[in-house]
Every structure is written in C-alpha cells, then in structure tokens.
Symmetry: C2
Subunit: 205 residues, 2 copies
C-alpha cells in the first residue's frame, strides 16, 4: 500500500514515529496505537508515559548478576538465605524469572544479557561474561549451572563458557539444566532432538 504523503500535525506524527520504532510495531500499528492513545482519557494515556519514565529512572542492572532490579545489589544477590556458591547462568532477565517461578532453586544467578550469535553480530565481548569471570575470581563459587536456552545459540554460548571457566577455574563444577521430554507434553509430538536427549539422559526410577 502506498503511504499517504500528507503528515499529521507534529505532535501526532512524533507519537506515531516514536511508536513505530518499537520492536514489532509497524507504521500502521503505530498509527492505530497513537489514535487509541489520543482517544483515551488523559490520565489513562499518561499512565503509559509515567510507566516508561518510572521504569527508566528506577530500574538498573544489578552490578553483581546483571539482573534488572530497583536495588543494587538486587534482592536475590543480597538475600542471605540464597546459596551464593551456586550460580545459574541465564540469557535474559525473563529466563531468571521463569526459573524463580518454579520455586525450587535456592542459588543465585548470572544474566548474560544475550547469547553468542555471530550471525546477529553478538560476540562474547557483548555479553556480561567478564563480570562472571570477576565473580568467579573473587568469591567462593563452587558450581556454575548452564541455564542458557536449548537452542543452537544457547548451546554455543554454554560451550564457550564451559571452556573459559574450566581453563581459568578448574575447581569450579560446571553443570547444565536437565533435558528430556517436557513435563506435560506428549511423546507423540516431541521432536527428534528432544527424544534423543531424553534417551541419552534417561534416569533410574
């Protein structure tokens, strides 16, 4: 569809432009959202503006584990009940949240803020790996759990970390999250990789 040449009046056009820069929002969606915001009662629309401002001013990365947090160190890193000698490495804050919601992990985390993906231009130096190495150097961490995603890029990242850690900290134990059939799924619809890993990692009952 050919775009209209005429422009909306400046404040509307600016809003559409700002919205269309968000991931997954095209020009048409941005337009729809802008008109929706213009239709809302002012206090409703300003809630979003306030939420953005609030999040940007109050949220930072924990200087220890790089999780997003209001406090530094974050609540998990400063919790005396958590086992500070076991570190689970994850790609993103949302992975940390998913693991926390399982409620069974009592160690701490390290958030890489990405995964090694040369095709997307993400090199090891773009992640928080040097922060992890610093932690391993200065504290008494005895185990690092690889909690990267079970994807090619997640596995590549885990492999890279395993090499780096075992070279520099040979006493640290390296483990990874168990793989196999997903609980609640069915074998019929499992893919070949899942089944191969389930067989290779079979457990005694």
């Amino acid at each position: 569809m050919i775009r209209n040449m005429a422009q909306y009046t400046a404040p509307i056009q600016n809003l559409i432009n700002a919205l269309s820069r968000l991931p997954g929002i095209g020009l048409r969606s941005a337009e729809r959202i802008a008109f929706h915001l213009l239709k809302l009662p002012p206090e409703e629309a300003l809630k979003l503006a306030e939420a953005i401002r609030d999040a940007k001013t109050r949220i930072r990365h924990c200087s220890v584990c790089y999780n997003l947090s209001e406090s530094d160190p974050c609540e998990i890193c400063s919790d005396p009940q958590r086992d500070q000698t076991v570190v689970c490495v994850v790609e993103q804050p949302k992975d940390l949240l998913a693991l926390e919601s399982a409620g069974s992990y009592r160690g701490v985390y390290h958030v890489l803020l990405g995964r090694i993906a040369p095709l997307d231009g993400v090199e090891p130096g773009d992640l928080t790996i040097s922060g992890l190495m610093d932690r391993l150097g200065r504290s008494t961490i005895r185990e690092v759990i690889m909690g990267t995603n079970p994807t090619v890029e997640g596995d590549t990242t885990a492999l890279y970390l395993q090499n780096e850690i075992s070279k520099r900290f040979p006493d640290v134990q390296i483990t990874r999250l168990a793989r196999g059939i997903a609980s609640g799924s069915s074998i019929e619809f499992a893919n070949r990789n899942m089944l191969a890993e389930a067989i290779a990692g079979r457990q005694k009952v």
Copy 2:
C-alpha cells in the same frame, strides 16, 4: 503456554501491563517492548514518554469538524481559501489525511469518529452526527459528500446520514465519492462488488 507466576519488580511489571493494554499488543509483545525500552539509552526511551504526553496535552478535537488538531478551529476549518459550503463526511482523521494527500479537494470535512456498527455497540449517538446537524443548521452548506468507507458499516452510516439530512435539510445536495476500479489495480483481481459498481457507474469518455 502457561504464564510465569512470578512477577517482575513493580516498575517493570507496571510498564508491561500498561503496554499490554494497547490495541494489538499481547503480553509477550509487551514484555519484549518493555525490555527493549529498558535497554535503550534513557533519552531515547523518554522520547516516547514525551511524545505521548505532548500529544495528549496539545492535541484536541476541532469543535467544528472534530478532526484532531493543535488549534481550534482546526487549520482546515479556519482556512479562508477552503470552500466552507462543501463538507466531506469521513469516519476517522486518517481518512481525512488520505483525502488531503490526494490534494484535489478544496472543501472542508466532518469527522464522525467512527461508523454505525450495532454489532460493536456503536450507535448513531456515539458519533459526531449531532455536530454535523448543528453545522448544517447554522451555516450555508450546499453539499455534503459521503466519504465513509466502502464497507457494509460505512455504507450503513452513509445511508443513515442521507436520510437524516434530506429529512431536515432538503435543500442540501448529498453526493458520495465515486466507486469503481481502483486506479493502479487490475480488473483480473477486482472483486465482484468493485466490478458491479464500475459497470453501474460507467462514465462517458
């Protein structure tokens, strides 16, 4: 997919919630956009907050035609070069913008801010129809052009307006935008309605 039970820290969760209330944005997209905003340099993210605030405080509906505008009456309604005796009725401000971009219309507009759609709960009273009737009553409008969309609901709205206007202002001429083959499209892919209207409205050359 089962949603995580754990919640992000308040400012992040508030941002995700506010974003997920936008049209076409689900919880997953809201999460992605929130993390994108958190990653941006502050001035970039605050630009969006500012654009929302700016649009909400500076933009209002023109009290004459209901177009969105910074001034009241809007630029078109207060333009002495425009023919104030011809009014084109459109559903939304973006329809007005599309017609303006064609650059050939010199009359003024009336924006209904919707179309009659009983299934969506939109009744004539929800539109700016009484505003249009007031205009017809107090000024010297000689022609009203139906510029509603060529859809069932747009046509219903136009039909309703035609009845109302011809009852109360029998001297006002009522026209509608021409229909037929869309310029630049092909007959091969035109639907039956388009072709039927093109044949019924065939023009002398």
